[in-house]
C-alpha cells in the first residue's frame, strides 16, 4: 500500500466512522463517543510508552485531573473552549513536575512511581470533598454549545468529540514527523546511540511524558462532559492498566496501535456480552492469547505473517 492510497483509506475510514452512529441507537452512539475519549488518552500514552519507551501506570490520574478541572470549571460557568486548554496545560505541568523526579528511574521502576502517583491523585479526589465532592462525585456537568448550537444531543456530542480526536491525532502525527518525533523514535530504539548523537534523553523523555499527560487531560475534559457526572473510582489505577493494555495490545510505538487497542478494550467486552456470565472471562483469555502469539500487538500481525512492505 503506498502513501496515497493509505491516506485515502484513512479519510474514508474516519468518514465511515463519523456516519456510523446515524445507524445506531443511543447505546451505540454513546460507545462510539466513549471510544473517542479513551482513544485521546491512549494516543497520548503511546507517545510515552511506544515512542519514549517508558512504562507509565499513571495515565488515568491525568485523565482524572483533566476531568475534575472540567467538572469544576464548567460548573462555575467557564466556557468550554477556555477549560479545554486549561486542563491540557495543567496536566502538562503536572506531568513535567512528576516526570522530573520520576523519570530518574526507568521501565518498571517508573511504572511503580506513576502507580503511586495515580493512587495519590485518587486519594485527593476522594478525600478533598470540599473541592472534588469526595466519593459522591460531581454531577450535572454541562455539555458545551458550538456557535449557539447546543451539543446536549448525544449524536452531536459524538461528532464534536470525534472532531477533536482527529485534531489531536493530527497534532501528534505532525509531532512525530518533526525532528522531535524522530528523536523520540531514536530514543525508543536505542537510548545510548541516541544520546551519542546529541539527543538530550532526559529532556525528550520528560516532554514525551508531559505531552502524553496533556492528551489524557484533554480526554478527561471530554469524558466529564460525556458522562455529565464523575466520581473518583473512574480514575483508579485499574483504568491506567486498561489504557496501557490498549496501547500494548494494539501495538505500542505504532501510530495506529492505540486505535485498534482501544477498539478492543472498549468495544470487545460489549460485543462479547451475548456470552452472559462468561464475557469477561472470554475477554481475559482473548487478551492472554493475543499477547502470547502477538507480543508486538495486533498491528504486528502483517510482519508476523511475513507480508512484504509491512513496516513501522
Amino acid at each position: 500500500m503506498n502513501a496515497k492510497t493509505g491516506k485515502l483509506a484513512l479519510v474514508v475510514g474516519i468518514a465511515a466512522f463519523a456516519i456510523l452512529p446515524l445507524f445506531l441507537k443511543g447505546y451505540g452512539v454513546y460507545l462510539c463517543a466513549l471510544f473517542c475519549v479513551y482513544l485521546m488518552a491512549t494516543l497520548g500514552l503511546n507517545l510515552t510508552v511506544g515512542y519514549a519507551g517508558q512504562m507509565s501506570l499513571g495515565q488515568a490520574a491525568f485523565f482524572g485531573i483533566g476531568a475534575y478541572h472540567a467538572a469544576i470549571l464548567l460548573k462555575l460557568g467557564w466556557p468550554f473552549f477556555l477549560v479545554l486548554p486549561i486542563a491540557a496545560v495543567a496536566c502538562f505541568l503536572v506531568g513535567l513536575l512528576l516526570g522530573f523526579p520520576a523519570l530518574r528511574v526507568q521501565h518498571h521502576y517508573l511504572a511503580f512511581a506513576t502507580l503511586g502517583f495515580n493512587i495519590l491523585v485518587f486519594l485527593i479526589m476522594r478525600n478533598e470533598a470540599t473541592i472534588t465532592g469526595g466519593p459522591l462525585g460531581i454531577s450535572g456537568i454541562p455539555r458545551p454549545s458550538l456557535f449557539g448550537i447546543s451539543l446536549d444531543a448525544d449524536l452531536r456530542y459524538f461528532w464534536f468529540t470525534l472532531f477533536f480526536t482527529v485534531v489531536l491525532a493530527a497534532i501528534l502525527w505532525w509531532l512525530l514527523r518533526s525532528p522531535w518525533g524522530r528523536a523520540f523514535a531514536a530514543l525508543r530504539d536505542n537510548p545510548i546511540r541516541a544520546e551519542s548523537l546529541g539527543i538530550n534523553i532526559t529532556a525528550y523523555t520528560l516532554f514525551a511524558f508531559a505531552i502524553g499527560a496533556a492528551c489524557a487531560g484533554v480526554a478527561g475534559v471530554f469524558y466529564a462532559s460525556l458522562l455529565q457526572f464523575i466520581e473518583p473510582s473512574s480514575f483508579q489505577f485499574s483504568y491506567s492498566l486498561m489504557m496501557l493494555l490498549a496501547v500494548i495490545v494494539g501495538g505500542s510505538g505504532r501510530f495506529f496501535g492505540p486505535v485498534l487497542g482501544t477498539v478492543i478494550i472498549v468495544l470487545l467486552p460489549e460485543w462479547l456480552r451475548f456470552m452472559q456470565n462468561w464475557y469477561l472471562a472470554v475477554f481475559g483469555f482473548a487478551i492472554v492469547a493475543l499477547m502470547i502469539f502477538l507480543p508486538g500487538g495486533l498491528l504486528s500481525l502483517p510482519e508476523r505473517l511475513g507480508w512484504k512492505g509491512a513496516s513501522k
Binding site: K25, G26, R126, P135, L136, F229, E231, S233, S234
Partner: protein, 380 residues
C-alpha cells in the same frame, strides 16, 4: 417544513412501534453489578428479579402479557452503567431495574429520566431521591431513614454514651457516615474514633486497633458485605468485646458465611431480611435458595419485591404506560393481602422513597435472628 416532516415521521414510527409492542412480551431491563466490587449485591438483586419474573410469567404474566427480562453487567462502573441505560432505552424498556450501587445510579438515572422510564434502584444513598427525579424509586430504606433508628437503639437499648465508626469511603459509605453522625448527635451520643476504610480493603487491623484504643462504648461498622466480614474477623481476633452494631450489611447472610463465628453477637438494623419473622419472606428465601443454590440477602428481596410492585401497580393503572406507572407509584400503598408478592406492606412517598416495617437483628450461632420489629415511619 423539514422539521414538520420529521415530526410526522417520528409519530408514524411511534404509532407503528406501539402497535407492534401491544401484543408481544413486555421488555424489562436490568442494569446490575455482576462483576467488580458490587458483584454480591448486584447478583442478589438480579436473581431476585429473575425469580419474580419466572413466577409471574408462569401465572400468565401481567395483564395477559409475558415479561421479557434481560439484564446486563455494569462491572460496577458508572461509565458502563450509563451505556447500558442507553441500551435499555433503545430496547423500549417498560421498567429499568438497578443498578444497586449508588455511584452507578447517579449516572444512569439521568438517562432513564430523560427517556421517562420508571427506574427502580437498590441504592441507599440519601441524595438519590432528593433531586426531583420523578422516575426513580427505591426498593429499600434510605440512610436518612435508617440511621436515626440505629442511633435510637444505641441510646435506649444499649445505653451507649459514645461510639466509634468504621466506614467505607465510597458513595455508599460516605452518605451513611454523614447521616449516622447527624443521628447520634441528635440522640446525644458522642463520636469516638472516626475510621475511614477503602472499598475492597483487605486488612482491617489498623482500623480495629484505632477502635480498641479509643475507649468508646461500642463500634458502628458501615462497610460493604465482604469488608464487613473482614472487619468482624479482625474485631474478634483483637478480642474486641463491646457491642458491634451495623446497618443492613453487618448481619447479612453473605457476611455470616464469610466471617464464621466472628459474626456471632453482631447487631444490625435491617430494612429487609430473609430471616424476618414473616412467613411469606421466609418462604421466598427458601424458594430462592432452592433455585439459585445460595441464601439471598436483602438485595435479593429488593429485586423480587420491586418486580411485584411493578405488577401490582401496572394492574392498577390497567395499561403498560411507564409514565403513568411512575405517576401512580408516588403516594401508592401496596398491601400484602392484595398482592402477596410484595412480601411486606409497602408505601412510596412523593420522592420515590419507600416505607415499611424494619427489623433489629442479631447473629446467633451463625444465623441472623430478628429480635425486634420496628413499625413503618408513617403507619398505613
Amino acid at each position: 417544513m423539514k422539521r414538520f416532516a420529521g415530526w410526522i415521521g417520528a409519530m408514524v414510527l411511534g404509532v407503528a412501534a406501539t402497535a407492534a409492542a401491544q401484543n408481544g412480551p413486555v421488555p424489562i431491563v436490568g442494569l446490575v453489578e455482576l462483576s467488580g466490587p458490587g458483584a454480591v449485591s448486584g447478583t442478589n438483586f438480579n436473581d431476585g428479579v429473575r425469580m419474580a419474573v419466572e413466577e409471574i410469567n408462569a401465572k400468565g404474566g401481567i395483564l395477559g402479557r409475558k415479561i421479557d427480562y434481560t439484564y446486563n453487567d455494569t462491572q460496577s462502573n458508572p461509565g458502563v452503567a450509563k451505556a447500558l441505560a442507553q441500551k435499555a432505552v433503545d430496547q423500549n424498556a417498560y421498567v429499568v431495574m438497578g443498578p444497586v450501587f449508588s455511584g452507578s445510579i447517579f449516572v444512569s438515572m439521568d438517562v432513564t429520566r430523560k427517556a421517562e422510564i420508571t427506574n427502580f434502584t437498590g441504592g441507599e444513598a440519601a441524595n438519590i431521591t432528593q433531586q426531583g427525579n420523578p422516575y426513580i424509586f427505591r426498593t429499600s430504606f434510605t440512610q436518612a431513614n435508617a440511621m436515626p433508628r440505629v442511633a435510637r437503639y444505641m441510646k435506649n437499648a444499649l445505653k451507649l454514651k459514645s461510639v466509634d465508626i468504621i466506614w467505607v469511603n465510597n458513595d455508599f459509605g460516605k452518605g451513611g457516615h454523614d447521616e449516622f453522625l447527624k443521628a447520634i448527635k441528635a440522640d446525644g451520643i458522642k463520636l469516638g474514633a472516626d475510621v475511614s476504610t477503602d472499598q475492597g480493603q483487605v486488612d482491617f487491623s489498623g482500623a480495629v486497633l484505632k477502635v480498641k484504643q479509643s475507649g468508646s462504648d461500642g463500634v458502628f461498622v458501615y462497610v460493604n458485605e465482604e469488608e464487613s466480614a473482614r472487619a468482624l474477623r479482625e474485631l474478634a481476633k483483637q478480642g474486641y468485646n463491646k457491642p458491634r452494631i451495623g446497618e443492613t450489611t453487618l448481619t447479612g447472610q453473605k457476611v455470616i458465611e464469610l466471617a464464621g463465628s466472628a459474626a456471632d453477637g453482631a447487631i444490625a438494623h435491617v430494612g429487609l431480611s430473609p430471616d424476618a419473622p414473616i412467613p411469606a419472606v421466609r418462604a421466598f428465601a427458601e424458594r430462592f435458595q432452592k433455585e439459585f443454590k445460595y441464601k439471598p440477602d436483602h438485595n435479593g428481596i429488593k429485586g423480587y419485591t420491586a418486580m411485584y410492585i411493578v405488577k401490582a401497580m401496572t394492574e392498577k393503572i390497567g395499561k403498560f404506560d411507564t409514565k403513568a406507572l411512575a405517576a401512580a407509584l408516588h403516594g401508592a400503598k401496596i398491601l400484602v393481602k392484595d398482592h402477596p408478592g410484595v412480601l411486606m406492606d409497602v408505601s412510596f412517598d412523593k420522592n420515590g422513597d419507600i416505607d415499611r416495617e424494619s427489623f433489629m437483628t442479631k447473629v446467633e450461632n451463625g444465623k441472623q435472628v430478628v429480635f425486634e420489629t420496628l413499625p413503618p415511619l408513617h403507619p398505613f
